[in-house]
């Protein structure tokens, strides 16, 4: 299966199963696009009519190149992976990561937050050190022989429970020596409580920090308000700039959310880049269709164009020496995830779980507060194995819609939480999310082609 597409002046052929990428001229693009379903004689006739200067010998050379690439499994490669997906149902997985909800409370009132006002449909509460400690023990006990474990401090706003965060990090550092583990800590914050002490602590202990901000002042302040209804931009930007500076402009992400109110979101990303931030991310809001800020089907063409516009501008800035990174365009063609990972998906409910302040376990942070997805508790372990087994099926081959999709080995079947919230099933497909992700993948690949053209680093 191949995916031919044209973007920003490049003709690109993605060989879906091998991940091979080819930059081709107009003639080769047409020949390859016709190759599977048209005879060579017909292709030659079509090409010579469309391109009178192209000789029969030229076309024969292209046919020969195609056959060589086929033999090398770089073009029209078969799908040898589907049988691997079946094994995922039987496999024993270990818990690799926990999302610790250290605070079900927040000092902002962001209109679109899936956690409500931080309390996730429940009561405001903070995680105690005892519950957090038990969560660490649960992770260690259920991690098998895996050495590298991850804990994300999340909320609500985790800095509202900073003392417990510090205690838990110290506990983790103590336990990793005893159990031969290595903890990687991360934290997501809205920035309101960032001060010197917090920054120094995060820069010492956190492998990554996610700083939440939506872009331009008027965009950020429309939905990210304080308890008093004031905008948060003026409070958080100086703190985030200082945090990024102290981290050497790496190991952090500015993380924004775009909505129906800013379908021109590339301007928000560029605004953050112009402020001096180098690591950027922006995600579409997932909301009920009745929410006024929810994305609508008619927004889609605009959103797809925005991703293209962003990619073109990022290439321009890279060439001028002032580039920045956008999370979805940071794909590594040589060292990306292996095929097992690409098929098995994100690990929701099997390798990754969320822990509430009282110790309840959920498949991920976006399922917290949904009673039917309660998996158990850190004190009793997983007691709802049926739901865990359901999540083992969240792999790319569980979705019939993914069968013929070129992006399936880049998205792994999409987000189970988004699928559940839009279709009612964790193995459903959130169609708008698919369209956006496909465009992001095309843009990311196009940027790689542009880089290869600039540096002339194609395979021999």
């Amino acid at each position: 299966m191949i995916h031919p597409f044209k973007l920003n002046g490049y003709n690109i052929i993605l060989d879906v199963n091998s991940g091979s990428i080819h930059n081709v001229d107009d003639v080769a693009y047409d020949v390859i696009s016709l190759y599977e379903n048209t005879s060579k004689e017909e292709i030659a006739a079509i090409i010579q009519k469309k391109y009178p200067d192209v000789s029969e010998e030229d076309i024969a050379d292209i046919f020969e190149d195609i056959e060589t690439l086929k033999k090398e499994n770089k073009l029209f490669s078969e799908d040898p992976f589907e049988n691997m997906a079946i094994d995922f149902k039987k496999r024993q997985s270990v818990v690799k990561a926990l999302c610790l909800h250290v605070a079900h409370d927040c000092n902002l009132r962001c209109a679109y937050c899936f956690a409500g006002e931080g309390e996730y449909k429940g009561e405001r509460s903070l995680m105690s050190f005892e519950v957090g400690k038990r969560a660490f023990d649960f992770l260690i006990e259920n991690s098998g022989t895996r050495k590298n474990l991850e804990v994300d401090f999340f909320g609500g706003e985790p800095l509202m429970n900073f003392q417990v965060v510090k205690q838990l990090v110290a506990y983790g550092r103590e336990q990793e020596k005893i159990h031969n583990k290595n903890f990687r800590f991360t934290i997501t914050t809205n920035g309101v409580l960032l001060n010197d002490e917090v920054m120094d602590f995060c820069n010492k202990e956190m492998s990554n920090v996610v700083l939440s901000m939506d872009g331009r002042p008027e965009v950020n302040d429309r939905l990210r308000k304080t308890r008093n209804g004031e905008g948060s931009y003026a409070v958080i930007v100086p703190r985030f700039l200082e945090m990024a500076r102290r981290r050497g402009q790496k190991d952090y992400y500015m993380r924004g959310t775009y909505t129906h109110y800013n379908t021109d979101f590339s301007n928000d990303i560029l605004h953050m880049a112009d402020l001096g931030f180098k690591e950027l991310s922006m995600e579409p809001v997932v909301a009920s269709p009745s929410d006024p800020y929810a994305l609508r089907e008619e927004d889609l063409p605009t959103l797809l164009k925005e991703y293209e516009k962003l990619a073109v501008e990022m290439i321009r800035r890279r060439r001028n020496g002032n580039g920045f990174n956008f999370y979805h365009y940071s794909i590594d063609l040589m060292g990306g995830p292996c095929i097992v990972k690409r098929i098995s998906g994100c690990g929701v409910g099997t390798e990754y779980m969320a822990v509430t302040p009282c110790g309840d376990l959920y498949p991920c942070h976006q399922f917290v507060g949904e009673p039917e997805f309660l998996l158990g508790n850190v004190f009793t372990g997983v007691t709802n194995q049926k739901v865990c087994d359901e999540f083992k099926l969240c792999n790319v081959y569980a979705h019939k819609e993914c069968k013929d999709c070129f992006a399936r080995l880049y998205c792994s079947g999409g987000c189970a939480a988004n699928a559940y919230h839009t279709t009612g099933s964790v193995t459903g497909v959130y169609e708008m999310g698919c369209e956006l992700h496909k465009k992001r993948i095309e843009c990311a690949i196009m940027m790689k082609v542009a880089e290869a053209c600039d540096a002339n680093t194609f395979a021999e």
């Binding site: 091979s20 499994n73 690799k96 994100c346």
Partner: protein, 31 residues
Amino acid sequence: MKRIQTLETRNLVESAKKGGCGECQTSVANQ
């Protein structure tokens, strides 16, 4: 310019023969 230029990529069909090590992090496209 050659009519077909191929980028250097990790060939997933070839790497599938080696299997996965299971050591990757929970999240997919973006080490």
